[in-house]
């Protein structure tokens, strides 16, 4: 039976993989030449935990029930999301019902793990090795033998202030993490039975967030002659070589998918969303909120009796409209806010290509109280959002190191290759939700009847029913 290897590069940027560094990545290039590939529209928003789960379920953000890293409980408490927040089944749950075995490694939002037919090791939201991070639990012993179990889950684990991490140390940690993860990956790849094998490499995302301006000459804070100019490129080359080690061990009845959850784009700066909403009269805070110093925004600051809208979100902005106050004026006010958001210029007065998505236009299920009314991509994500209070003016630059070099862009990349896959070359853009039904079709597992997304048309005629 045909098997599927899904190799994920978090934040892998299509323009780098398909164009700029194509010839430096011989293994991905070969898959592209022998198969089909495309730019892949990510979820709205292109958030890591949302996008990967959309890829392995076929569901949109609202069906997953996860809109961001945190959510509000009915009593108003802000909690961290986990795999338990997912409202739908993902690949291992679905294909497991048809006796297919999966290995899922480091897939974002897989913590805490649950029993599956196969093996699961959780992601960067894992507190530590003693938590519920591995199924079966015996895998923990293998991880412990690898050495630094903290860095195993994320390069920034164990650091109080990431912005003080020096690039040299960051790069070292990225390679250490990847080497340890690969040791486990190869062990399971060779010694376990599987029909679906998926692993997500996080280093690409982390290095790009922090080091983008060391190589992108168009970045407004470009660092010329940086010793880290090639750090991202070298890491891509290293990951491609690691992928090559896996490919050489595969039989010819395995379909290989290499993909990313979103791409990456330089970050110009941040727009102080709540400052703007206050200035426009949409957001009213309680009188005792101290605006003389910078502080994190909290919903407890909001005077809900007078507030029309408030914002959150560290990359894209999420705007929540107070329906109790606006009542039937909702459509009019929503439209008014959209037009005003689109007219915000950059710090030099130039117009921005801002995109604003209304929940009812993009989501199937908008009843979740955590579903934002508006999702805003300032300048198509070249500008981020900053919900903090006590900032002066509309723009801010100072932030955690992770945030100020690059952010997520709207499209990731997708490459598929195998004996039964058409050699279509570059295809028109695809949607991230199409990956799951495509994998199910390859594995000859029925696609759930309520999943309306169509699999990709990449199959050699007649080989799959």
């Amino acid at each position: 039976m045909t098997k599927v290897l899904l190799f994920g590069m978090d934040g892998g940027e299509p323009s780098l993989v398909f164009e700029k560094w194509r010839d430096l990545l011989p293994n991905i290039k070969k898959l592209m030449e022998n198969g089909s590939y495309a730019r892949m529209n990510s979820t709205i928003p292109p958030n890591t935990i949302v996008a990967w789960n959309s890829m392995i379920s076929g569901r949109d953000t609202s069906e997953l029930g996860v809109f961001s890293y945190t959510y509000k409980t009915p009593s108003g408490e802000t909690r961290l999301v986990s795999s338990q927040n997912l409202r739908c089944k993902v690949m291992w749950d679905i294909i497991g019902e048809y006796n297919k075995r999966s290995i899922g490694l480091f897939v974002p939002l897989s913590y805490p793990v649950h029993p599956i037919r196969g093996c699961l090791v959780s992601d960067f939201l894992t507190p530590d090795i003693e938590s519920n991070c591995a199924y079966p639990e015996s895998l923990k012993e293998k991880i412990k033998k690898l050495g630094n179990t903290e860095v195993f889950f994320d390069v920034v684990a164990g650091l109080a202030e990431h912005k003080h991490l020096d690039p040299e140390d960051l790069i070292k940690r990225a390679y250490l993490m990847t080497d340890m993860q690969f040791t486990l990956l190869k062990d399971l790849f060779h010694n376990e039975k599987w029909d679906f094998f998926m692993a997500v490499m996080l280093g690409t995302d982390r290095l790009q967030h922090m080091l983008w301006r060391h190589f992108d000459e168009t970045h407004r804070r470009f660092i010329a002659n940086s010793p880290y100019h090639d750090a991202i490129k070298n890491y891509y080359i290293y990951i491609d070589a690691k992928l090559g080690e896996l490919l050489s061990a595969l039989d010819d009845d395995t379909v290989i998918i290499v993909a990313s959850d979103h791409g990456m784009i330089k970050q110009e700066g941040k727009i102080n969303i709540n400052n703007w909403l206050i200035e426009q009269g949409y957001l009213v805070l309680h009188k005792d909120v101290d605006l003389s110093q910078k502080q994190r925004f909290s919903s407890s600051f909001i005077n809900m009796e007078k507030t029309i809208a408030y914002g959150s979100g560290a990359y894209n902005a999420r705007v929540f409209i107070n329906k109790q106050i606006v009542g039937s004026r909702y459509p009019k006010i929503s439209e008014e806010i959209i037009q005003k958001l689109k007219s915000i210029p950059d710090d030099k007065g130039n117009p921005l290509d801002t995109k604003v998505y209304k929940a009812e236009d993009i989501y199937k299920n908008t009843s979740d109280p955590n579903c934002p009314d508006l999702t805003v991509y300032f300048d198509d994500l070249r500008w981020a959002s900053n919900p903090d209070l006590g900032l002066s003016g509309l723009y801010s630059w100072e932030s955690a190191m992770g945030a100020d070099s690059a952010g997520h862009s709207r499209q990731g990349f997708f490459v598929i290759s195998g004996k039964k896959i058409k050699k279509k070359g570059m295809m028109p853009d695809i949607d991230i939700c199409q990956v799951a039904p495509t994998v199910m079709k390859i594995l000859q597992v029925p696609i759930p009847s309520d999943l309306k997304v169509k699999p990709l048309e990449v199959f050699t005629y007649g080989l799959f029913s």
């Binding site: 890293y69 961290l80 939201l125 507190p127 920034v156 990431h162 900053n386 955690a400």
Partner: protein
């Protein structure tokens, strides 16, 4: 769904919490109780949140 509570209990709650809403008070209590089944201990959650803040992923 409506939940019925004896008026005597309601009065005692109102006495304890003053002007706060009873629904909010009860929700907070229930959530605390359910936390035993939560994926993160309070410490673990703070640890991971701090990691995400340092990355600029959450505000």
């Amino acid at each position: 769904m409506e939940i019925l509570l004896p008026s005597e209990v309601l009065e005692r709650i109102q006495k304890k919490i003053g002007n706060q809403s009873i629904s909010h008070y009860l929700l907070t209590l229930i959530e605390k109780d359910l936390q035993e089944n939560q994926p993160y201990t309070e410490n673990d959650e703070e640890k991971v949140k701090e990691r995400l803040r340092s990355l600029g992923y959450i505000d």
